[in-house]
Structure formats: structure tokens, C-alpha cells
Symmetry: D2
Subunit: 325 residues, 4 copies
């Protein structure tokens, strides 16, 4: 169940410590300019390197296997591979018997009867977000000139993000954050009243991104404290421009032509340097341990470009569908 | 695009002021006890009648058209109809030229080039949640003995919900609320790491419910202010029981066998008794108006059973899929 | 698994001797003229009444429940019901223990652990083709001015169909036939090279029609006896008009703008008046019996309009998709 | 639209003269033995080399990128790549202006507005059947101990296939053939009465294989000349064993536990050595030409293993679904 979309469809594959991770993008129209270089900016934004991010440095060079010919999309499926080169699997041998809290180690082991590739989280690794970011680049081309922008609005409960990172480094503990995303220039009419509402499809994709535990559209949870007369966005002209935008650009599941925006909650990185406790299969009791491997202290720093990609993927599909109706 | 699900699939149809609304449930196993009476309790919970709810009273008697024989499901599609009887369409003539803020009137008119049935919101009406509740009853039977429970946790920003309603009645303004939902007894292993994560599928269904603008799993947005060492749920035994449950029963997109819980934000009812402003197509300027028709002052009162149904539908599908793997 | 289609999606439900059979059509564009009367001509063609067809006469009046407003499609799902009125269920009590050869009685009983509605074939009844024909009417409107025409080309092995029926009446034995179908005016470019080839989707729908056991496109099985130089259709102009049409209007899975045509094999009606043998569950041995109930001696007479509908449904979906690309 | 399946889902990608062709197999259960060597026998059967087949010799070594760990499937998507090494693209420059009759050159050029990779048929190339064969190997493992066997039953209209090839070599003209396929050991109950009938899904996959123009189940077109009393297969025991098998193991769309069999029509290879005529874009008139490149005189020789794979893919999906119900 690694596919998303109706017309613009993406499938991801690969494991953190396998040969490669990759994505197949099906349903992309023919004739769109496409080049390896088009992917670099977004891939760069996803890379670690800043304070609070993992020292694992992959080249992350996209290898376009299919679907592009003479610098244009052909209308056939686009497959992009990212080789795994900088792999230190030995770090992960302990995972088998010591499932890391917050991670999926334990549930993966049970769900797949022990056959999952446990190294670095295997297929569940955040490394697969490379594939989502690459698909997002293609989605953004389809959406163009619509602009999708996500930024880290809060980290560790504060909007002073540098201070938050500094504090986390001192505490030697991982932190989370809030990513806000806005989409400008979107036409009115994307989405359906019920199962394929714009919120349904965006949230479906957003919760495909590891570490995300909440989403709110417009003023979201704040709306629950407002009166209807305050919350309703008065319509001002025949284009549907609204005076306020409490709805975040979506009415009844359908984009209304105003800016679409939403915020997502990113939990603290599960791999904290702190001492933790977990069930030890060998000793059959709870034991303390420290996570090995190379990790992000604040994964939220690297999430905005993935959130952009996830939103763009859902919206590109809706935009293509809207060309029929 | 009115279908949801992979194996357990539901399709809804109908309009608020048409002949009927209904649902087709495909992929329900054969041999499950099923009777009209099984639907009544949940349908009753969705009905208006309390202070703060609409005076439109429909009988809402489910008419099982197919898929049930001698009191058992047959394995064929189950279609359930709800006739519309108590219809006052005249109230809605004004909608054509005066799109109600907060409602989908304006976007529906544009999206469907004026061909939508605008009476009472047409296909976008909250009345379609009848169909979702009915499908939820079937989903709960599949999930049994798993228990899905949703309650209104907050209204108008307070946990004293009676007080909130009383205040709204005095203010003559609509309010929203927060619904919390818990699922007990769910097996470990439902959901996939990415696109079909448990959060993805539940949120997809939840945002299919009108008026919902946010969702958070476990401690959600609060998690963004915690350290990893605080947020991680220590694993205590070989079943995966955790000491805390900040993750809301889901790790890496997969249920972990602990209680699953989430909270949803319900915006204030768009139809407030207050004077509002909107674009008037006839006069080509913004004009004030009052919403006609019969409406809920606090739609959130009626949402819990719909949230339960939405969650149950997503989880029933995942449970059926899990029987294969 | 009673749904077909990507954008133009149809779901069918109901049983032969239940309350009704019906269809939900999702993804039909808004603004198409639609009226109960539009369905009558095709429904009439499916009706029994001629020599060699069943004496069961249903009114078969379509009841449009949703998706049509003021004589136009609204863009919301269209549900159409057909009540079952002329039901004689007593005829079918024997089926439980005496599975009719050629019918699905035995496999349905086993597949659904005895919970299937066995009366008149239940959900597997040819009566469900009413729903397919109704969806076909909508599909043809989307395809217009493309014309889909199917006729009975052979019955009982001869092109003199009246003679074939006369002989079957004398022999008191059921017969089959060959239906040929042509589609004129179809644009070039529908279908994909592999899984969604025009042949794949058409055959998928065609084999959804009971009693069909074969399909061939263009000259089909005859092609296997030809040389490539004979079979290849020379391209004569810039529109792609071909000198011959051995390919039946499809190259590499994609329509080529020439007439699309195919032939389907309809087996003899399983319910023959002749004495037959089958396993008797009560006596635990093979026993002879005669089929009760009202049946068609040559079901193939009623199949052409169903074949048209099936083809139109697949092609309408491809046509809508082609508007995006 | 390069994906097939509900639970067992395959997606293919790649072009004949691009970097590679490949397949992603999603929904394969964890814990199945899987090794590169498991693919070699079927891949070998698909290879050219015999009289009447193309001299293009690729190594066709499968490169398993993901989804297999320590010799077992992990439950995550399995991606398999086949590099293209022996490419002679210069042969194909002429295709741009001289669309080959019988091939998809013309329709691809029009459908994709000239952006398709035309070299060797691009994504439409028969080389993509490598991906289908590889997926078929995985499907067969899921089906085991069910056996799927396809053979070339006729070539050029005769069952003496060696003679047919010899004659084609003398005539220097391409020929077609008939492939028959049988599936033994399949459980009763796979498939649904309508849209997901066993015939629907198998034919959907079979027509995904290039050059196939017809399919018949059981005695197919011959059934149209029989009486019902001759065609019906008498049921002989409580397992559903039938005296004859005219239905080819499928009743009412559902497998009945007897041998499933079908025959497919393979048209003559479009690339014949004979002089042909086609529209010439440069001269704007019909001109004669000879096809360049390396081709099979009788592609049908290589089709049986692809037919097996196609059938196995459809049946593996149905088998997995049947575990739920």
C-alpha cells in the first residue's frame, strides 16, 4: 500500500540501508521540462548539516531511470533512484532485541513476523522522504505558477528557533516543532465535499510523513473557541475573495481561491541522546539503553520541504482531475 | 470521488432536499448479523433535538435495499437508503444569489458551473453524514469487540458544555467544539509506514466530515513542546504495552496495540443567527443578510457519532487487510 | 468489489429477488441533460418478450434518486433504482440443495458459506445488467457524438438468427451466440500501453456481463493465421486513417481513430429446459432434475445492449481521462 | 496508469532504449523465499535466441533493489531493475517520420504530442514484458502450489509449430499464434460476480501484453455453437468436480475448483521483413519502406511465459483477497 493518487500517482520503495530508495511517478503529463538539476534545490533543503541534524551525509544525487527524454517528460512513468552509499548497518544490530521507544521497531517486528529489514528503520526510515521530496518537485511543476511554501514556525515550543536548537544541544535531548504551509495561486474548485475533500487528501499525504502527529487547516483548533459570526469569512467579490481567511482557503472540502494554509505538529525526534527504557527481548525485562546511530536532534528542521512536497502531491492530483470537470 | 476504502469500501449519494440519501457498503464479509434495529442507536445519537440543534426532524428510518438476507450479510453490497421527507426547499431559493459565508454555496456554484442542487447544500449537506453513520454501524460490527467511543470534550472553548450552549443561546451565535475519540482493543499492526498510515487513513475519513478543521493523534500539538525523552512511550512488556501513551497508539503509522486516540476540531456552525455580509450577485456588491432555514447552533453536539463512524470505517478496512498479511 | 472505473466510476448493488437493483454513477460531469425518459430505449432493448426470452416481465422503471436537478446532472453521484416487483421466489427453494450446472449456485454457496441470497441467483443474477445498461446510457451521453452499436451476429452457430431460435424452441434446448460491437467517432489516443490498454478495460467490463466467455478485437483469432504483411493496417493519411482495419481500431493498447470493433462469445443460457444432472446435497449423490423458474432460451438476444453499455462505460472513463493529458 | 491490482499490486516503468526497465511489486506478504536465481528460469523462457526470434540479446539480470532481506521478502515493496545494455538507437531515427503499421508509433506520437521516447517503441516496447515476467515469478510464489502453465498451441494457423516457423523463414514474413494456458490447483471461490470476475481480471492483465487480440475461457467461441445441455458441466461431488469443463473452471465469474483454462490470440509480429506502406510525414504521402531494427519473426514463441505471468498476477491478487472473506 505504497501508492497515492488518482491521476497523479506516486509509489515509493526502498530501505534505509538497502541498495537505493526511489519513487515512480505515474500520470505526469508529457512535455514538461525535467532535468536532474531541477531536483537539487529541494533535495538540498532536506539534507542534514545544520546544527541539530544528523551527520549522515548522502550524496542524494537523483538518477532519473525513465519517463524523461530530451529534457522533457514523455507521459510515461518517471522513476527516480537515490543510491544508498554511506551506510553503517552495524549500528543497528541491537535494534532486533531492543525496540527503540517512539520508533516503529517494535510494531514492524511484530507486523512483519520478524522479516522486516530492521537496519535504520528499513522501509520505514525517514530516508524514504527523499522519494517524497523528488515527487514533490514534479508535482510543483504541474502546479506552477501556484506556489507552495512551508517553514518551521516553532521548535521546542518557541518561535525563536535558533534558541530552541541551542537549548536542545545543551540538554542533549531531542525536540519537535510546528511547520506552517501556505499555497498561493490555487484555483477555486479543487476537492470534493466528502471523501476527497481537499483537507482529506492533504492530510492523507501529510500523515504519510514520519513524525507528524497533528494538522489544522486555517485557524483549526482555535476555531473551536470562536463564534460563527467571527469565524465565517465574508465574501467580498465575484471571485470569492474573503475578508478574513479563517477557513484556510477551503470551504466544504473545496478550495475557494484564497490562500490555502495549514499547520502541522512534528513530534520530537524519537532518537534522543538521553537514557531510555524499553523491553529487552533477550532478558525478558525492561532495561535502560542509549540509541546508537546518527540522528537529528530536531527532525522538524528538515520537515518543511517534505510537507511542501506532500501538499503539492495531493494538490497536483486534484488539479489534474479538475481539468476534466 | 465519493468512495473510500480498499477492501471495506463505502460510497455515498443523495442530496439534502432530493428523494433520499444513501450509502453502499461493499466488501463486508458474509454472515454478520444485520438488522434495521442495529442502526437505530447510532442514528438516534446523530439526530437533532437537544438545545442547540436544528428543529428539522426526519424519521431517518434506514431502508436496507440489498446485501442482507435472513438477518445476515450476504457478502454482496449493502445499500441503505434514508428518504427525505421533511423538506422545506423554499427556504433556500435565496442561496443562489447570496452565498452564505462559511458554507460551500459559493464554491459549489462555481465548481459545478451552476448545475449543483443548491437546496440545503445539496450533496454537500451535513445530512449525508446519515450515510456515514450507517456505514459506521457496519464497520463497528466488523471491528467488534474493538470499541470506538467519541465524545464532545469542549464546546465554545470550555469543557462545561451545557454552559457553552446556554451562552450561545443567549448570544444567538453559533459555536464549535472539540471531539475526542478513543479506540480500545485494536490489534497491533494496522496501517503502513507511509501513504496508508493509520493516521493518514483516519484523517482522510475524519476530514470527510463537514465542519472539521483539525485533528491530532495522541498529544498532537502538545508534543511539539516536549523533549523526546518525555514524549517517547517506554515499552514495558512483550505485548508492547507502553508506560505512557503520548503517541496515541500509533508508531510509524502502525497501531501498537495500546489505546488509539485522537482529537478533532469542529468549527462553529456556519449558519449563525447573526447578521452577516456576503457578495450579492444581483446587486454586484457586498450586502448584509440573515441565514434562513433550520440549523444547529452547535453542530459539534451531533458530531461525535459521525467521528466514531469515520474512524471505524477506516479501521475496519485496515483490519480486513491485516487478515491477509 | 462492485466498482469499476477511475474517473467515471460505477457501483452496482441489489439482488434478483430483493427490494431493488441499482447503480451509482460517480464522476459524471455536471450540466448534462438527464431525464428518466433517456433510459427507456436501452432498457426496452434489454427487456424480454421476444421468442426465446423469459416471460418474467418487470416494469423496469428507472427511479433517479440523486445527482440530477432541473433536468441536468449536478456533478454529484447519480443513483438509479429499479424496484423488483414481479418476484416468484418459491421457484428457487430447490436451488439450495440442487446447484444448477452452468450457474453460479454451487460456487456462491461455497464462497459465501451459505449466506448468499440464492433466490434467482441473488446478486449474481442477470437482472443486475439493468444497472449496467442504465450506467451505459449515462456513459453514452458522455461519449456523444461517438456511437456504440452492438448486434447479435450469430445465434446457435448461424447468422440466420430467427432460424436458430425456431430450432431451439423445437429442440427445447438453450443456445448461445456471438455479439459484435462497433464504436464510431472515437478520438485517437484513448488507452495506455499496458495495464490500462483499451482492450484491457473494455474486456474487463465485457467479462463483467454474465454468460460471456470470449472476446476478440479486430480480426482477433483469425489474425493468428495471417502473415504480418497481411495483418498490418497501412496508414494512409495524417489523421491515421488505415487502409484495412484488422487491428479493430487499437494499436499498442491505444485507440487509433479508426472504427473500434470487437466480438464477444455468449454461451448458451445455463437454464435449459432439458433434463440435467447435478450433485444433490441431501441424497449425497448425482441426481437428475429440471430447472424451474422463468428463463431465456437464448439470453444472447438480450445481450447486445448490455455489451454496448459495458463498452461505453470503459470508453467514457478513458475519454474523461484523455481530457487531462 | 501503469499499476494493476488491489492487494497484490504491480507497477512497471522504463523504456526500451532508456537506462532500465523495472517493476515494483507491492502487497507481497513477508517471509517468502526470494532470490535472484528464482527469476532466471522464467526470464530465460522469455529470451530470444530460437529460430524466429530477435537477435537482440540482453543479459536481463534482475537487480533486486528493495523488499528482500536475508533471502526473504520483508513485506515492503519489491523493486526489480533490468538494465538496458545492448541498445542500438540509431536504427530508430526513421520512426519519427515513418510510423510502422501495426505498431503504436503513430498513436504514441499523437497521444503524447511528440514527446514520447520513440526509440524501440519506448515505454510501449515488448521489452517491458520483462517486468511482467519478473512480477509473475513473485505471483507464482504466492500461488504455490497452484501451477500455471502456458504453451504455444498454434503458430501461423497450425499446431506443427516448427513447420510454421520454417515456412515463415522461407516466406520472410512474420506470423502469429495461439497460446493456451491452464491453472491447476486453484481453490474454489476466487473472483466476483461482476466487475472483478475472474475472467475480467485475467483478461485485463492478458490484454496488457502487447500483440494479444483475443481471449476465450473454457471452450469460448465454440460454446456459441452448442446447446445448453451440452455446454453445462454436470457437478459430480461435494467438492464441485465437474464431468466436463466447458466453462474453463469459472462459473458466474468465480473459480469453481476445476482446472482454469483459456486461450489467447497473438497477432503476427508487426515488424515483418516484407515491404510495407505507410504515411510519410516529410513527403506528405504514402510511401513504401522496410522496418529496420532487430525483431522476432514469431513473437508468439516468447509469449507463453508472459501469459503465465499475467494470469498469475491477476490470480495472486484474488487469492490474497480470498484470505479475508
Amino acid at each position: 500500500m505504497n501508492t497515492f493518487g488518482t491521476l497523479f500517482r506516486i509509489s515509493i520503495f526502498g530501505e534505509s540501508h538497502g541498495k537505493a530508495v526511489g519513487v515512480t511517478i505515474d500520470g505526469c503529463p508529457a512535455g514538461i521540462d525535467m532535468d536532474v538539476n531541477d531536483f537539487l534545490a529541494d533535495l538540498e533543503r532536506r539534507k542534514p548539516g545544520a546544527a541539530g541534524t544528523t551527520p549522515r551525509l548522502e550524496e542524494d544525487a537523483p538518477n532519473i531511470i525513465s519517463g524523461v527524454f530530451k529534457g522533457k517528460t514523455t507521459g510515461s512513468p518517471i522513476t527516480i533512484l537515490f543510491e544508498n552509499k554511506n551506510v553503517q548497518s552495524a549500528d543497528y544490530d541491537a535494534i532486533k532485541g531492543t525496540p527503540r521507544p517512539g520508533h516503529a521497531d517494535f510494531v514492524l517486528h511484530k507486523k512483519f513476523n520478524g522479516f522486516n529489514d530492521y537496519r535504520g528503520g528499513g522501509h520505514s526510515s525517514g530516508r524514504l522522504t527523499l522519494a517524497i521530496v523528488a515527487a514533490g518537485v514534479v508535482a510543483k511543476k504541474i502546479l506552477s505558477p501556484v506556489e507552495v511554501n512551508a517553514t518551521l514556525a516553532e521548535a521546542g515550543g518557541t518561535t525563536d528557533i535558533e534558541a530552541a536548537i541551542a537549548k536542545a544541544l545543551v540538554q542533549q535531548d531531542s525536540i519537535g516543532g510546528i511547520v506552517s504551509c501556505s499555497v498561493k495561486g490555487l484555483p477555486l474548485g479543487l476537492g470534493e465535499p466528502f471523501f476527497n475533500s481537499a483537507e482529506s487528501l492533504i492530510s492523507h499525504m501529510i500523515f504519510s510523513v514520519p513524525a507528524i502527529k497533528g494538522i489544522e487547516f486555517g485557524n483549526g483548533f482555535t476555531a473551536t473557541k470562536m463564534y460563527g459570526s467571527e469565524h465565517n469569512d465574508a465574501i467580498l467579490d465575484e471571485k470569492g475573495t474573503t475578508k478574513t481567511n479563517n477557513a484556510g482557503g477551503i470551504n466544504g472540502g473545496i478550495t475557494n481561491g484564497n490562500e490555502l494554509f495549514f499547520r502541522v505538529a512534528v513530534k520530537p525526534t524519537s532518537s534522543t541522546p538521553q537514557l531510555q527504557h524499553t523491553w529487552n527481548e533477550a532478558s525478558q525485562k525492561v532495561e535502560s539503553f542509549k540509541v546508537k546511530g546518527r540522528h537529528d536532534l530536531c527532525i522538524a528542521l528538515r520537515v518543511p520541504v517534505v510537507v511542501e512536497a506532500a501538499a503539492a502531491i495531493a494538490l497536483a492530483d486534484l488539479l489534474l482531475i479538475s481539468k476534466v470537470y
